[in-house]
Amino acid sequence: MIDVITLFLFNIIVYNIPLLYGTTGEIMIEKSGSLNLGVEGTMAIGAVVGYLAGAKCDSLFVACLVSFIASGLVGLLFSFLTVTLQANQNVTGLTITTFGVAFYYFIGNALSNSEDGWPKLSGTRLDEQSQAIHIPFLSDIPVIGKALLSHGILVYLGVLIAVFMWLYFKKTLPGLKLRAIGENPGAADSLGVNVTLYKYVHIIIGSGIMGIGGLYMGLNMGGTFEGSNCWINGYGWISIALVIFANWSPAKAILGTLIFGFFNTLRVQNAALAYTFPDTLGWLIKIPSHFFSALPFIITLIVLITSSLTSKGKSGEPQAIGRNYYREDR
């Protein structure tokens, strides 16, 4: 038995880290001035393709690499449609979501019906490699050791990606150029920045990051395919909201993930908290559980409203977001 506080903190991270992948990936794309609503579909494709490749080669590295490439290809498609062909970004993103989720079910159903069936995770090396890593001494610290320092490698990778992306935006020249494109592609173009190349590269990398998040969700679900419930389960959509929550900053995305994760976990754990601490938290049980189910979304709504009301709240928003750049348009 793990005590309820530790489990609470542990679950915030374990179940919500995919949001960080989705959010940082989307931030990278939006910083280039493109709004990609296809996060859900991109994650689904990365998840299913990466998982299958990982199961085939029995390696977590291959799984990550392939899901990055698969989702990157989806990003390439998005770039081709919106950057080269100037298609409407919203419609293209929505199409990718429909396509990606349908692709997930299509592959999953086809494989499950096949003779060999859907590849199992339990007992494989892939499973072993995605399990929590025990760090000597650090993982043994009470509460914090279990909650923060007993995770699988993909959890740490997600945080690292967010930190590096923050540094990339703030401290490097390509990061600066990217932000310039997001603010005013015409100005960046006139300074000799290759707008099309920058957009392509960052949309592909951002999509690839999302794919690893999708793979994480699949591995976290024990790699079982269910015909009625997609692994991604709406997390792609929440990620898009979290981008605004984080004010387009990868560092704040970590915070946003944790805050959203807190309420997301509270919806499951409220009864356990009330049960363990009847005197101080007993009142939690009196609130209908459906309220807790709605809470993460109520919080998201409140944040969206407040950030829209204050100018500071949206200071990180790229000015040219959602509009295609076409040099001859000027």
Binding site: V4, N11, A87, N113, S228, V268
Partner: protein, 403 residues
């Protein structure tokens, strides 16, 4: 030109994804009846006919198996409209389509199809309409069907009870889609709990309600909470995926799945799962409709069978079960099949003895809810109506909902 190409590519993507989503939405086997049989079966599914587990899968499997039993060919004589949401207009369209295909009997598997099916039964008096889990019917061509799955849950409860005795841990967990809102989930929880209590009278059954039929992540977290916070040693479930069993397997405790033998998902944890054999009903219904559709309502009528008809059962006991389990389950099963005892009655079973000499004892005891209300007096008959008509909305003593 660029715009045109992009529009075409986007449209192509949209169309392919639509096809993938819809699966084989269109009815198959359009070549129609051959000389061998003119009888055609129609089915309306809530999910895809290609599902590999879960509710729609169980019914699709039942229908195809039953068709083979009564000499029909599912590839020719079965017409399906799948992915039909619980929306009256959509259901009516599906029925019209199946009627146009010449179906003689139409099965609708989801509760919310109820009103559309009742209405269309009047419009097509020559077609038999058969609706799962509903409560409406007429005396000519419209019936409903469901089963006493609580009997199978009672049997799974026996397996869980023995496990808890052996482990010396009285806490049993139950991840449930819904609680007392639906008689289906409620009677399942109560049936399971009474099975556990028949073996281990000190057991406490903690129910975690996830408020949705299927959400893998919630199912997983609910099971974790039940194990880590409430110290449960067996996790039973009434939800779509196998996640609760997988969690039990990871955490080294035990579990009872649902709908299919989940030993393959949780080899070290799974004990036995209550399962449906829908083909038992479908074969009965098809046979009656093929022989004489006019007497369908008198021959079959509203169908509500259990262990006796083979409609429900427990999956093969896994090697994780305690040695006494098999005998105890056989004893209880025999009584229910013979109709001499049922779960929600004023008679309580208690099992004792070691493997090889398990005995069952009947004692008169009232059926009491967990807040002390008496539902059935000691020695009284089982509350059939409560389950069939959906009025059961209480937990029996020993059950607590944790959230």
């Amino acid at each position: 030109m660029k715009k045109l190409i992009s529009m075409l590519v986007t449209a192509a993507l949209a169309v392919t994804s639509l096809f993938a989503l819809a699966g084989c939405n269109a009815a198959k086997g359009n070549e129609g009846g051959n000389g061998a049989s003119d009888f055609k079966v129609g089915a309306i599914y809530i999910n895809s006919q290609n599902d590999t587990s879960g509710y729609t899968y169980a019914h699709h499997h039942g229908i195809t198996e039953a068709m083979k039993k009564v000499g029909l060919d599912p590839s020719k004589d079965l017409f399906i409209v799948d992915n039909v949401p619980e929306d009256d207009e959509k259901v009516k369209q599906a029925i019209d389509q199946l009627a146009g295909n010449g179906c003689n009997i139409i099965f609708g598997i989801s509760f919310g199809y109820i009103n559309a099916m009742e209405e269309k039964a009047k419009e097509y008096p020559d077609i038999i309409f058969s609706h799962a889990t509903g409560y409406l019917s007429n005396d000519k061509n419209f019936n409903n069907y469901f089963g006493r799955i609580y009997q199978a849950r009672y049997l799974a409860g026996i397996a869980a009870g023995y496990k808890s005795l052996a482990l010396g841990n009285n806490n049993i967990g139950y991840v449930s889609a819904w609680g007392t809102e639906y008689a289906e989930t409620c009677s399942g929880i109560n049936g399971f709990a009474l099975g556990v209590l028949a073996v281990n009278p000190d057991a406490k059954i903690s129910v975690y309600e996830i408020s949705t039929w299927g959400d893998q992540e919630l199912e997983r977290q609910a099971a974790e909470t039940l194990i880590d916070t409430y110290g449960c040693c067996v996790i039973a479930q009434h939800c779509d995926s196998a996640q609760p069993q997988i969690v039990a397997n990871e955490k080294g405790v035990f579990g009872c799945g649902y709908n299919s033998d989940m030993t393959k998902e949780a080899p070290n944890a799974h004990l036995a799962a209550p399962i449906w054999n829908w083909d038992a009903y479908y074969a009965t219904a098809m046979k009656a409709a093929m022989t004489n559709p006019d007497t369908f309502m008198t021959e079959v009528g509203n169908y509500y069978e259990g262990l006796n008809a083979g409609l429900v059962d427990v999956s093969a006991l896994s090697s994780n079960c305690e040695p006494q389990t098999k005998e105890a389950i056989e004893l209880a099963k025999k009584m229910m099949i013979a109709g001499e005892w049922d779960v929600f009655s004023g008679v309580k079973l208690s099992f004792s003895g070691d493997a090889g000499s398990v005995t069952v004892e009947k004692t008169n005891a009232p059926l009491v809810t967990n807040d002390g209300t008496e539902i059935v007096a000691a020695g009284g008959a089982s509350v059939d109506d409560g389950v069939i008509q959906g009025s059961m909305n209480y937990y029996v003593a020993g059950v607590t909902q944790v959230n």
